[in-house]
């Protein structure tokens, strides 16, 4: 999603405006002419509201217009009894207590900026910051740049000119570094973060070393003052925090735990501050380059800000842990780590998410010894080609052109080149906000489908160059493994399943759609299971042939064993997903059949068009298309009476639980959840609880139906007056991806 694509129309609008501006400016050279009268006459010929526009005048331009002098729209508009600028002398001396309050207020505003609010409503409202950033101000950026102070400075003045100034400069520098990290990675402007600088520059000429020096001077200066001990410590803690934060951002240290500790000290001395609200004003917006309406300065409580800072530092510490060497060795451990990170509560902020992306994608290596290429190759090997000379890193080194290993490697490389970007997105996209994860995954589906076509072609080449034994499939026909096709399909379907699961989490589906979506999920899970079984069959043969010659390649044998465990864990997880999805499909299906869940009237809709709209992301899939509307309807007809359905649900749940119980026993190495053991455990628990909840609701339905003699109720009957269903919002579910309708007997 390049900026260009996103902002194509803005670019164009801006292009035109720039041209017009140039033309307008060239007027000067031709002399000035008063056109007021002509303009007024011409304007009179228009009807009120008539829009004179060319084809390129778009809605963007319409909203770009402001009504000048409307105080709600025009940020430059000054009400009559108001002054243009804030009346506060930033050079004036301040007491230590006031300084402490300002520093904490700045931390509050900075936290709000991290949280997605623009600088104009946050950090820039500080009049001290504003003065330092003023376009007329220059290195070395003094508060009093325009008028040198006369004589010696009092202590209070020095607190401002030495301490506060150093702090503000360092804060601006920190903001610049944060901005740099965020902008170097994927994020969504406005949704996640506002990078806009409103025409200001963040002190490009000030070096980090200079900031350190100023902060050190300030620290030293404080010790020379005769301040009460707690005040002195409070000031020092704030300066030290800023210094270490700057150092962490510039990568001089990675001591984020230290920042949390310093924050604690700041928190414990927050009450020493004495408010000085005049030091901040939203009037600064009048001088910022913006066409947006004036907005109030943000109010953030210290408690909130403190929590956010602590969370952010904790998030960053977690990024370091989750990208440790052992996790990065294994693509699947790393993928689990990405999801674990994204699902930290609350979701890590934009900076922490960018920080993680930067760690993984800032260079061509995931970690010291693992390049992005290795990661992808390991992934392919782990899943489909363990113990096979094909895709063995050693085979890539064979240089003899006639050697099939050399030839095959070139084909695999070419495929990997094509797969690369989308494969890394599997990691990167999980670092986006939850809504975007779903949407970018949705966009990945056609790309993966096209990649699959590529994989099919490559597999044909590989089969030709290095023919291997075909294996009978479930129905006895002999088939090739087609490793790259299988690998691509596995990821494609996994992504498709995730889009559905995230659809549940983001409440995209109405109650009457749950049934269909769980059916579709069960279909995807079913495909995954068959695919894994096929891989397992081929792996078994490969393993057996290796065991025949144990001395030949013990590395291959070990790979096969590891892959066998890994495939088993995947199989069990997809089986559990499939059974849970089936159980919920049945539950929602029977609730619809007996009208406990009803579809809205939908006067303007047609079934086929609803299907088209809902299935749009999956309709472009050419390889293994999704079920049609008729397939879905046919499936629903299999849902019989309340009694029969509830029995089946019970069986499904039992089976799902058995799969979960089995996979739970697997070690972090076997099931590849090294580094995310805690999250794994929690997730298993959530899934088990979900299973119980499904069973409970099914028996609840049976109980109420039985009480009313309606166990045999089926399509055409109505239990609407008897049973009431409510759909729990995500925060009330045991797991966001699993929606279990809650049933209750209606009071007559």
């Amino acid at each position: 999603m390049t900026e260009d694509q996103q902002h194509g129309s803005f670019n164009f609008a801006a292009h035109r405006l720039a041209q017009e501006a140039r033309q307008a400016l060239s007027f000067g050279s031709r002399g000035v002419k008063d056109v007021t009268a002509e303009f007024a006459t011409a304007a009179k010929q228009l009807q009120p509201g008539q829009l004179v526009k060319d084809d390129y005048f778009t809605l963007f331009e319409a909203v770009g217009a402001l009504e000048i002098m409307d105080p709600k729209m025009d940020s430059g508009c000054v009400p009559e009894d108001d002054s243009f600028e804030a009346e506060f002398d930033v050079c004036r001396g301040l007491e230590a207590a006031e300084i402490i309050w300002i520093l904490d207020e700045l931390l509050c505003l900075e936290a709000a900026w991290h949280d997605g609010y623009p600088l104009s409503q946050t950090v820039f409202t500080s009049l001290h910051v504003d003065r330092l950033l003023s376009p007329d101000n220059n290195a070395p950026y003094n508060l009093h740049y325009d008028r040198r102070p006369a004589g010696d400075l009092s202590n209070d003045e020095q607190l401002v000119h030495i301490v506060l100034r150093a702090y503000c400069l360092a804060l601006i520098k920190c903001s610049q570094l944060v901005l740099h990290t965020v902008q170097s990675q994927n994020f969504y402007e406005e949704e996640d973060f506002v990078t806009h600088l409103f025409g200001r520059e963040l002190l490009p000429k000030l070096s980090t070393d200079e900031c350190y020096r100023l902060l050190d001077d300030a620290l030293r200066f404080i010790t020379t003052l005769n301040l009460p001990a707690d005040t002195s410590e409070a000031l020092k803690a704030r300066l030290a925090f800023r210094r270490n934060y700057l150092a962490a951002l510039i990568d001089d240290t990675d001591d984020w735990p230290d920042l949390i500790a310093r924050m604690e000290v700041i928190d414990s001395t927050n009450s020493l501050g004495r408010p000085l609200r005049e030091a901040f004003s939203d009037k600064v917006q009048r001088q910022l380059a913006t066409s947006t309406p004036p907005r109030p300065m943000l109010q953030v409580s210290w408690k909130d800000a403190y929590a956010r800072w602590t969370k952010m530092c904790a998030g960053i510490i977690e990024t370091e842990r989750l990208t440790s060497f052992w996790i990065c060795q294994s693509p699947h451990c790393l993928q689990r780590a990405m999801w674990a990170f994204s699902y930290l509560e609350p979701q890590p902020n934009t900076f922490a998410r960018a920080y993680l992306q930067d760690r993984l994608f800032g260079s061509d290596r995931i970690t010291e010894d693992v390049s992005h290429f290795d990661l992808l190759l390991t992934d392919i090997r782990d899943l489909v080609l363990a113990g096979d000379p094909l895709a063995d890193p050693d085979s890539f080194q064979v240089e003899l052109p006639s050697d099939p290993r050399h030839q095959c490697s070139r084909h695999i490389e070419a495929f990997m080149d094509k797969a690369f970007e989308e494969y890394l997105n599997v990691y990167r996209m999980v670092c986006q906000n939850r809504c975007r994860i779903r949407r970018t995954f949705t966009q990945a589906i056609p790309i993966m489908d096209a990649l699959e076509t590529e994989a099919i072609r490559t597999d044909e080449e590989l089969n030709r160059l290095a023919p291997r034994e075909a294996m009978p499939n479930k129905s006895g026909a002999k088939v090739q493994l087609n490793p790259l096709t299988t690998w691509t399909k596995f990821y494609k379907v996994q992504i498709m399943a995730r889009t559905i699961q995230l659809g549940f989490e983001t409440e995209i589906y109405l109650p009457d759609e749950l049934c269909t979506m769980y059916w579709l999920l069960s279909v995807f899970a079913h495909h995954q299971c068959s695919r894994i079984e096929a891989i397992e069959r081929h792996l078994l043969v490969r393993t057996l042939s290796l065991l025949d010659h144990p001395q030949q390649n013990s590395r291959y044998a070990a790979e096969c064993m590891a892959s066998r465990d890994w495939l088993r864990s995947l199989h069990l997880q997809w089986d559990a997903t499939r059974m849970m999805a089936l159980a919920l499909w049945r539950l929602c299906g029977i609730l619809m059949a007996v009208r406990i869940i009803e579809a809205p009237k939908r006067d303007f809709a047609q079934d086929q068009l609803l299907y088209d709209a809902r299935m749009k992301p999956y309709l472009s899939v050419n390889n293994e298309p999704i079920p049609s509307l008729q397939d879905l309807d046919r499936a629903r007809q299999n849902i019989k009476s309340v009694e029969v359905t509830c029995k089946s649900i019970e069986m499904d749940v039992k089976e799902a639980k058995a799969h979960l119980a089995e996979v739970k026993m697997m070690s972090p190495e076997q099931a590849k959840y090294v580094g995310t053991e805690e999250q794994w455990k929690r997730e298993m628990k959530q899934l088990e609880t979900t299973c119980v909840a499904i069973a409970v609701q099914a028996s609840q339905l049976m109980r109420i139906a039985g009480k009313h003699g309606k166990k045999g109720a089926q399509e055409g009957d109505s239990l609407k007056e008897t049973v009431e269903a409510s759909i729990p919002p995500p925060e009330k579910r045991y797991h966001g991806w699993w929606v279990v309708p809650q049933l209750k007997e209606r009071k007559m």
């Binding site: 803005f10 801006a14 509201g49 909203v63 066409s291 006067d603």
Partner: protein, 232 residues
Amino acid sequence: MSGNSKHAVNDTPNEQPPVAKGHVELRYVPYGAEKESTYLPAIRQLISKDLSEPYSIYVYRYFLYQWGELCFMALDEQDSLIGVIVCKLEPHRGGPMRGYIAMLATRSEYRGQGIATKLVRMAIDRMIEMDADEIALETEVDNTPSLRIYENLGFLRTKRLHRYYLNGNTAFRLILYLKPGIPYKPTFPPDYPPLSPSEQGQGLMDEDLIARQAALMRIEDVRGETHDVTGS
């Protein structure tokens, strides 16, 4: 659009809006093709009541001048404005003919009587007459009345838009297909010339500012998606 409603802010200063008593006879009329109807100030006032920040008059004119026939008003016996819907209809990225419901509001004391539903129906009917392929809109995730209206008529939620509105609220994109085969219609990326760095103006001419303005007003999903022919 029209979603940046003031959250939890009651729109009448004197608390609980009085519910209009008895049965009011309403007339439903199109804004029509006249250049600027006398109703514009009333429309503006009604819509902006629920917005934390006002739209400039040009936004209204943009819609009403070009798609006056897709704006419908509910008027009482004294011809005062009780409800309004404002829409547009044009090809979406060179693909399907997309209707877009930009604004919808009912005066608070008249809510819950089906007025907005009626207005939406009229707009949809007119869009169908004008050969629309699909209709889209956004609304806040917790605007239950609005979701109820559209979902009852057949709209589906297709996307959740994180922090879509000025007030930081999240929205759903809703869509209604009117014709078969819409997902298969190709769309095209906007093919505007890229802006060369030398052409980037300063201050108000800055493209960032325009982008930001449009994004803030949330008139449409201006940030869009990665472009691909299948869309999402």
